[in-house]
């Protein structure tokens, strides 16, 4: 029984450390998006809110990103528990039994499983601390690993428990696409590969629920993307994943090599005692499959490799028992594995304490800034590391949206500039509204402040128009205009968007990141065909652009404000206005 106390103590220590990680981790990227969604839907009726929420948060990742962002304490409590469940799941799947920690060797294997996962997982600190990564990968993988354990342990699941595992499988399907696709293929292969009489009902239920969940998950946009068109690029992408995950393989190989040498000297025939390599081989291949599937996006970060890391850890744990049969290797494992774990924890605590300090300074600066002013915050002082994904407000649109909608400020600026910083073009935007009944102004107030960034201002306008429509007012006209020198105006007003008795004209312009040449791709949607003239204004110089293409490229050479304008015979629309980043393409 004492071994169970040992396991509990390790679990408690892990919980405390991971809870501290979760508490220290700042609000970042998608957390702000979740808080913005909450702010933007504050005036919805509960029914409308629920419908809107389900429409945009039906995958596991979206759901939990929102929940963890609006309830940070839940992240502190729930995420460490989920992590511990994942490690326990790895252990059970690798041992092919429900590990109850009846022996000290089970406790040792628990520590080993935890360490091996950390070795395999690139940017592991982010994978267990950043809310959107946790929601997208950790939670889904943990459910998935227990389903995998249920399969390989040969558990018989009947009655109500079948419903439970079916729901769990559906949730795995709604998790990240890597987990969903690999899980579905694996479960189908498992069921169909078994003789008919060995197939259990829950095997089918889980396989079908996974398939359904995966299909539903793919309804979320973007659906299929292959962001890299070139075979080499895709191959490099997979190789990069193999490199990131493969450190575990190298570590195990070094120990195995040492064991073989020592056993050979002692005339011990250790190769005959090798555990069954088929599961390890299978895990290796599925892990590679996960890495290949990652090519199809839509999103790839090191955390996307979490399912692959779990599989590699499942494959590696049985070899720990084999390695430990050689006394000297056992001693080395006893020292090295806990040392790696403790070093990782200490490193994480130091790093996140530092980051949390900067985050706290930023929040203090924002809290101290008067309403409707521009807050000055310090930038984070590091790029992406194992523990932190780097500055998240370098994009002007997110920065301004957060400033206006969450903190009721005009904008947020940095105390020190940095190369990747996108500066706000600072456009003066205003709205002219005609035909709105007086009672509507109470029901749907005009935004107190218009953003000085095109995409944010346009989104504000569209939201305002939608709110009026939702309230039943359609018989009005509005224009969102911008004060900007337009040498080709010829008396035409310069607008960002307009609505006329229910007809909204608000083009959608997506601006990509600069490629290695510094070229930026633009895509334009929702632009009426009447707009047949298109040009670029940079530092007062006008350059004509092809007017008919919905996709085109620009290669900015300066960091002056670049404004793209399109005109019809009646008015002109600003398509985009931006200041290119000062960093050069690599």
């Amino acid at each position: 029984m004492k071994s169970r106390y040992g396991a509990t103590a390790f679990a408690a220590l892990t919980f405390v450390v991971h809870a501290t990680f979760a508490w220290l981790y700042p609000m970042l990227r998608d957390d702000w998006t979740a808080l913005l969604w909450k702010a933007e839907h504050a005036d919805y009726h509960p029914g409308g809110w629920a419908l809107s929420f389900l429409g945009s948060h039906f995958t596991l990742g979206e759901l939990f990103t929102y929940v963890l962002a609006v309830a940070p304490l839940l992240h502190v409590v729930l995420t460490p528990i989920v992590f511990l469940l994942m490690i326990w799941g790895i252990l059970c799947a690798s041992q092919r039994r429900l590990v109850r920690f009846d022996t000290w060797s089970d406790v040792g294997l628990l520590v080993a499983a935890s360490t091996l996962w950390w070795v395999a997982q690139p940017h592991g600190g982010i994978a267990v601390s950043e809310r959107d990564m946790v929601a997208l990968y950790l939670y889904g993988t943990t459910i998935g690993v227990w389903l995998y354990a249920a399969y390989v342990c040969g558990w018989e699941i009947r009655g109500r428990r079948t419903i439970l595992v079916t729901v769990a499988a559906f949730l795995v399907g709604l998790a990240s696409r890597q987990i969903a696709v690999v899980g579905t293929v694996w479960s189908m292969w498992f069921v169909l590969g078994k003789p008919r009489h060995e197939r259990l009902r829950w095997h089918w239920a889980v396989a079908i629920a996974l398939l359904v969940g995966t299909i539903v998950g793919y309804l979320d946009t973007p659906r299929f993307t292959i962001p890299r068109s070139d075979f080499d690029q895709n191959a490099n992408f997979v190789f990069q994943s193999l490199r990131e995950n493969g450190e575990l393989v190298t570590l195990m190989m070094v120990f195995a090599f040492a064991k073989l040498l020592l056993d050979r000297r002692a005339n011990v025939a250790s190769v005959d005692e090798l555990p069954d390599t088929a599961p390890a081989f299978r895990c290796l291949w599925i892990a590679v499959g996960v890495e290949i599937i990652s090519i199809w996006g839509p999103r790839f970060t090191e955390s996307s490799l979490l399912p692959a890391s779990v599989l590699l850890a499942i494959g590696a744990v049985p070899f720990i028992t084999w390695l430990a049969r050689t006394p000297l290797v056992k001693k080395a494992l006893f020292v090295v594995l806990p040392m790696i774990l403790v070093a990782t924890w200490i490193n994480g605590l130091l790093m996140l304490t530092h980051i949390h300090g900067i985050y706290a300074d930023r929040m203090d600066a924002i809290a101290a800034a008067p309403r409707d002013s521009i807050a000055q915050v310090p930038p984070y002082d590091m790029f992406s590391t194992d523990w932190f994904t780097g500055e998240d407000w370098s994009s002007t649109s997110l920065r301004e949206r957060v400033a206006i909608d969450i903190f009721h400020l005009e904008d947020i600026e940095y105390t020190a500039p940095f190369g990747a910083l996108e500066r706000n073009p600072r456009l003066a935007v205003e709205m002219h509204l005609e035909g709105r009944p007086a009672e509507a102004s109470k029901q749907v107030p005009v935004p107190q402040r218009w953003a000085s960034n095109i995409s944010v201002a346009r989104a504000q306008f569209e939201r305002f128009v939608r709110s009026l429509h939702r309230a039943g007012y359609t018989d009005f006209s509005a224009t969102l205009s911008v004060k900007l020198e337009n040498p080709r105006a010829n008396g035409r007003p310069l607008l960002l968007a307009r609505v006329d008795k229910g007809t909204l004209v608000s083009p959608r312009v997506s601006r990509g990141n600069p490629n290695v040449d510094g070229t930026i791709k633009f895509k334009i949607r929702n632009l009426p065909s009447a707009y047949g003239e298109r040009f670029l204004i940079t530092a007062g110089v006008v350059t004509d652009l092809p007017a008919t293409q919905s996709a085109f490229e620009l290669q900015p050479q300066t960091i002056d404000r670049h404004t793209l304008i399109t005109c019809s015979t009646v008015d002109c629309l600003v398509l985009d206005s931006f200041i290119p980043k000062a960093t050069a393409p690599q």
Binding site: G246, L260, G419, A420, T583
Partner: protein, 616 residues
């Protein structure tokens, strides 16, 4: 097919690939510097000696650079010699792995295939190492020489009575010396391994004269390379400022660990494939209910020793001022030899053998196709570029196109004209143009500086103004490192080595920079006297938060600095230098303003210095 035919076929395929690639190599980066030599010299023994002796005292003292000069001469030399050396590397690595030469059998052909594939997937940039002549000669030729030195020892120590072979004594001395002179990073490990071999041979009473001769050659060659005067002058004397101990201290545990993990990461694909092969073997044997054959003690022991050697070469880089993918070649080849030696035992299982050989065949074919495809395209573009520069009238700016394969990949170095200094060098030194411009100018290519440099010379006894004017070179590089090189060459080969007149003072100044100095001080780039060269040395540096700086070496910053300015498209700014983290130095902050050059200027009371350029 018979065993011999299999072997011959495999060998022919590999040689044909290497031959085609040797025909396809473009003129790239360091190759241009060799073309300058051939503009003024022929290829002869005396010109090779002139070139190498200058390099030994003033530039790159490795013998690989002399090989590079030779390979850039008549094309036939490269086409014949390089494929042979590349094949020799494979042969030597095989001999190190198996303690025997490859036999003309199908099995050995298979093992050579596996070894070549492991080398190509473990080496981070195989295409660049094999087909970019400066790397081929400085690293591949170099390591082939080192392996050539060790093969006789490896073969001899597997026999009870090694052959005496007196004729080997001078050969081993020369090979040992060449191996010592080949590379700074591998030499340390080579010396340690050589000491181990010799002591082992002596203790087991197998020591032979040729073994001592090879060791003596190595132990003379390596110190000669490390202590070569050129080391102190190369890369603008960076070795003087960055001593191994200082670098070790600056890097700390994290930096050194990072180097180890870089190698582990680069080797990871090979390691995964190796482990996958072993798992497959165990699985296949157990499925067929056959026992697993334990690895022989000898294989394990040698695998350990070779791995330790690979690791030691990596560790040598802890104290090296440069660390790059090219330096991992030697360790990668050794690791590939270890993996192949273990896999050879897995080949007893038919299923394993077939699967692994199929995988290796596919990987080999993929590499072969990509090599030929990429270099075919690159050579065409390179030829077009050279034709465009040649066709440019004297003194005009040559216009060239950017390369399609502009990025550095595992296949190809990329577009070398991204460097503005190289464009200027090639235009003026290799051809008669004034500069080279890439049109359309891509974002990744360095912009051209707005200023130009002028030089002032003082001789003792002085020259008349007319005589002095005759010494003007056709251009002064607008990059101070190249000013130093130009001066050194002019002093060595002329025209500044004038009998009866000694150059006592040489100053390069910047003209045309939009720097508004209220005190109208001279804006100096470099000052030379026979005793001292004065410059302010810095390099672009982005900190972890992405902020941009010029990081200066403290010992080059004037002691009585009064002001520091940055001059660029954001105008002229007076800035304060900040202490640099970790490796020390001082930081000059650069305001991210545009994608053009920002120049830093440090002023003393009576003179200002161009102190670096930030080129985004």
């Amino acid at each position: 097919m018979t065993n011999r035919r299999w072997f011959a076929l495999g060998l022919a395929v590999l040689w044909a690939l290497l031959f085609v690639q040797a025909l396809q190599v473009p003129v790239l980066l360091d190759d241009w510097y060799q073309l300058t030599w051939y503009r003024h010299h022929d290829l002869s023994l005396s010109s090779v000696w002139d070139y190498y002796s200058y390099n030994y005292f003033h530039f790159n003292p490795r013998v690989g650079d002399a090989f590079l000069m030779i390979l850039n001469g008549p094309r036939i030399i490269h086409v014949i010699v390089t494929p042979i050396v590349e094949l020799a590397l494979l042969w030597f690595a095989f001999a190190i792995a198996f303690a025997r030469w490859p036999k003309a059998t199908k099995r050995d052909m298979q093992l050579l295939l596996v070894l070549q594939v492991f080398i190509w997937i473990i080496v981070p940039i195989p295409g660049v190492i094999y087909f970019y002549r400066p790397f081929t000669t400085n690293y591949l030729y170099a390591f082939a020489t080192t392996l050539a030195l060790f093969v006789p020892y490896r073969l001899a120590l597997t026999t009870a009575i090694p052959p005496r072979r007196l004729w080997l004594i001078p050969i081993m001395f020369v090979v040992g010396w060449l191996a010592g002179m080949s590379n700074e990073h591998t030499g340390m490990t080579a010396c340690a391994a050589m000491a181990g071999f010799v002591i082992w041979a002596w203790r087991t009473q197998r020591l032979r004269a040729w073994m001592i001769s090879g060791a003596v050659g190595l132990f003379i060659g390596y110190p000669m390379l490390l202590k070569a005067p050129g080391q102190a002058e190369r890369y603008a004397g960076v070795a003087n400022r960055m001593t191994p101990l200082k670098l070790l201290k600056d890097r700390g545990f994290d930096g050194c660990w990072g180097i180890v993990m870089d190698f582990v990461g680069e080797a990871q694909i090979g390691t995964m494939m190796f482990v996958g092969g072993v798992l497959l073997y165990v699985y296949a044997r157990r499925r067929a209910k056959q026992s697993l054959t334990p690895l022989p003690q000898q294989t394990l022991t040698w695998a350990l020793l070779i791995t330790l050697a690979a690791g030691m070469i990596v560790c040598t880089m802890f104290g090296s001022p440069t660390f790059g993918e090219r330096l991992l070649l030697a360790s990668s080849v050794l690791l590939a030899a270890v993996y192949t030696s273990v896999w050879a035992h897995l080949f007893e299982d038919r299923l394993t053998r077939r699967v692994l050989l199929t995988a290796c065949g596919v990987i080999f074919a993929y590499h072969a196709v990509r090599y030929v495809q990429v270099y075919h395209a690159v050579l065409q573009e390179n030829d077009a570029r050279i034709a465009a520069i040649k066709a440019t009238p004297k003194g005009q700016v040559a216009i060239v196109k950017p390369y399609k394969y502009r990025q550095r990949t595992r296949w190809h170095w990329g577009d070398d004209f991204r460097y503005a200094s190289l464009r200027q060098y090639v235009a003026n030194e290799v051809y008669d143009a004034s500069d080279i411009r890439i049109v359309p100018m891509p974002g990744w290519a360095q912009p051209i500086p707005e200023d130009h440099y002028v030089a002032h010379r003082t001789f003792d006894p002085p020259l008349s103004p007319e005589e002095d004017a005759k010494l003007d070179p056709n251009y002064i590089p607008t990059y101070w490192e190249w000013d130093v090189v130009q001066l050194r060459r002019a002093l060595h080969w002329g025209p500044l080595n004038i009998p009866g007149h000694a150059l006592v003072h040489y100053v390069v100044e910047s003209v045309g920079l939009t720097f508004d100095d209220p005190k109208h001080r001279p804006l100096r780039v470099m000052e030379w006297t026979p005793k001292k060269t004065t410059t302010v040395d810095s390099y672009p540096y982005n900190d972890e938060g992405g902020r941009q700086f010029l990081r200066t070496f403290v010992d080059t910053v004037p002691v009585d600095t009064t002001e520091v300015y940055t001059v660029g498209c954001m105008g002229q700014r007076k800035v304060a230098m900040l202490p640099a983290p970790q490796a020390g130095g001082l930081l000059i902050p650069i305001e991210p303003g545009c994608r053009r050059i920002t120049t830093a200027v440090i002023c003393e009371p009576d003179v200002c210095w161009v102190s670096g350029r930030y080129m985004p």
